[in-house]
């Protein structure tokens, strides 16, 4: 069997609990990612999702275990891994364009000024921000800032993209629009993405697989849920697919009823689940149901 693109082996994180003892946030985390996969991870607050992502990014160190990417152990941050932070983390003294230029120049120092600029503008255009090149982040809305942050991460074409609740701070309408943009960019680039989210619908829309984490302390990645819905997907039509509902019901049931007690396989790898196995695979796309579903989504977004 060939080695996977990214392999996480026996990761755990231990903090002092403040009373002389120790607190194991998560332990024996094991999973693998294949090249080009989009994987979301869901779990209750505090179970250690951000910590795992920061270990993958090289910004944090695990207490035990290791991460191997492309056959090389990850030690410290690197340009082959791009990160989108929850709070955008744009440099506020730089313009939108220069925030991207900063990243592109770091990635390809040998490029000419024109080439760097042209490349940066292309990615800003992808997220629909080519009209705001010379504005500072403080002059942008939250949604626009997160778009810049996403453009910055994609512009450096990392082998692995790490997204920590990228839409967590956005309102439902904006979130929907940017999700669509993310789907579009991802369909174009097919980069490997590892993303944290709290939103079940978002996870189903975007991922090939969804990792479910049990509650901490001693949290584990208990299950790996396959999302059996073909690409390209669209937010407006995806819930017409019967697989969508089966997957969604399964995820919600896990989060509500089973996240406290769920365990992975004996060997520590997540249990592989296919809740929509056998469900119809094609997406019906008649014009009527399309318009109907669009207004329905809009209504849901407004009510959210």
């Amino acid at each position: 069997m060939s080695k996977p693109f990214l392999e996480v082996d026996g990761l755990s994180k231990v903090y002092p609990d403040g009373q002389g003892g120790e607190l194991t946030v998560f332990e024996d985390i094991r999973f693998a990612l294949e090249k080009g996969e989009f994987v979301c991870i869901i779990g209750h607050s505090g179970c250690g999702k951000s910590t795992i992502l920061n270990v993958l990014a090289g910004l944090d160190e695990a207490s035990a275990g290791n991460v191997v990417m492309n056959g090389k152990e990850i030690k410290g941050p690197g340009l082959e891994r791009g990160v989108v932070f929850q709070n955008y983390s744009l440099l506020p003294w730089k313009t939108t364009l220069n925030n991207i230029v900063f990243a592109v120049r770091a990635r390809w120092p040998e490029w000419s000024k024109e080439k760097v600029k042209e490349h940066s503008e292309r990615y800003l255009k992808m997220v629909g921000l080519d009209h705001a090149l010379n504005r500072k982040p403080s002059q942008l809305s939250g949604g626009m800032r997160q778009r810049v942050s996403i453009a910055r991460a994609f512009a450096t074409q990392p082998e692995l993209l790490l997204l920590d609740e990228p839409f967590g701070a956005l309102d439902a309408l904006t979130r929907g629009v940017i999700q669509d943009e993310l789907v579009k960019i991802w369909e174009e680039t097919r980069q490997t993405v590892f993303m944290i989210t709290h939103d079940v619908d978002e996870a189903i829309l975007l991922s090939d697989r969804i990792f479910l984490m049990s509650n901490g302390p001693n949290a584990r990645i208990a299950e790996s849920v396959k999302v059996d819905i073909p690409h390209p997907r669209a937010r407006a039509t995806i819930f017409q697919n019967p697989a969508y509902h089966k997957t969604r019901d399964y995820l919600v049931d896990f989060l509500v009823n089973r996240s406290g007690s769920a365990l992975p396989e004996k060997d520590g790898t997540p249990k592989i689940v296919e809740p929509a196995k056998g469900a119809a695979r094609s997406t019906p796309a008649s014009a009527e149901s399309d318009t109907e579903s669009e207004s329905e989504t809009a209504a849901r977004a407004v009510n959210a």
Binding site: A57, G58, L59, G76, P77, G78, L79, R81, G82, V83, F85, N87, S89, L91, P92, W93, F102, A103, A106, R107, K136, P137, S138, T156
Partner: protein, 275 residues
């Protein structure tokens, strides 16, 4: 309705006229020789020199001085422009030397908790020393009054810059440092492209405080070492009992101090950013 600025300017001018008017009235010479007390008769009348001069006299002097600020008629008689230029030169020299040390050391202390802990006790002891207390030691070691004054400026302007730089650098948001780390910037590139712009507003605040203190201290330092400079000039005119010149030079000290502060304020605006 006139704009706020216009109304404020009108009010300012009225205050000025009122203050000058009161001052002028309070300093009128008394009616000559009427109702002299016995004591005053013994003293030969009211002595003109001992009264504060009226604003009209100060303005007349200011006009004369400012119409030829750079004349040089020997060691004890130089134009106000020359005296101010000496002071500004000393302040800027000492200030730039302080900057050359405070900024790199501040960066070092701000980035390394080890260096911070190691150097902090010395900073805490040296900082509260009045800069003028260094003067005798400086005169003895340097053996040159001009360089000693510059040294005193150096020592008084170094602390706000050093501490603000260290504080600004140490408190750069971890998120921005993480952005630099995920883009594999080396320590030097990180310092220049991320930490310096992020800490610049705090650093500039320190530099602005320093220039203010330096300008306060130079007057006192020049009163001590003598020779040239606006501080020496004030003291010399006091010895000559030329109070109009004393008042005029006090005003000039204020004006130059304000200009220095304005310049740093402009620089501060340039590096400011909104989060």
């Amino acid at each position: 309705m006139a704009s706020l600025n216009v109304r404020a300017a009108l009010l300012s001018v009225s205050f000025l006229i009122l203050a000058l008017g009161l001052w002028e009235m309070a300093t009128q010479p008394p009616e000559a020789q009427t109702g002299l007390t016995e004591y005053e008769m013994l003293m030969g009348g009211v002595e003109q020199e001992s009264r504060v001069p009226p604003p009209s006299a100060v303005i007349k002097l200011a006009w004369a001085e400012l119409s030829d600020p750079f004349y040089d008629a020997g060691a004890n008689d130089k134009g106000i422009g020359i005296q101010l230029a000496y002071s500004v030169y000393r302040v800027l020299t000492g200030y730039l030397a302080a900057m050359a040390i405070a900024l790199p050391v501040g960066f070092l202390i701000g980035m390394s908790p080890l260096m911070y802990k190691a150097l902090n006790p010395y900073i805490q002891v040296l900082r509260p020393i009045s800069p003028l207390a260094w003067m005798p030691l400086a005169l003895f070691i340097i053996q040159d009054s001009d360089a000693s004054a510059i040294f005193v400026i150096f020592i008084c302007s170094i602390w706000p810059m050093l501490l603000n730089t260290a504080f600004g650098v140490a408190n750069v948001r971890q998120d921005w440092v993480n952005v630099a780390r995920t883009h594999e910037l080396g320590p030097l590139r990180t310092a220049i492209t991320v930490i310096l712009p992020a800490a610049a507003p705090t650093i500039l605040t320190g530099m602005r405080i320093s220039i203010g203190i330096a300008w306060l201290v130079i007057v006192a330092a020049e009163m001590l070492v003598g020779g040239t400079g606006i501080g020496y000039y004030v003291w010399n005119e006091w010895n000559n009992l030329d109070l109009a010149s004393v008042i005029f030079s006090i005003l000039m000290i204020g004006v130059v101090g304000m200009l220095l502060d304005l310049a740093l304020g402009k620089a501060q605006k340039l590096v400011e950013y909104k989060e």
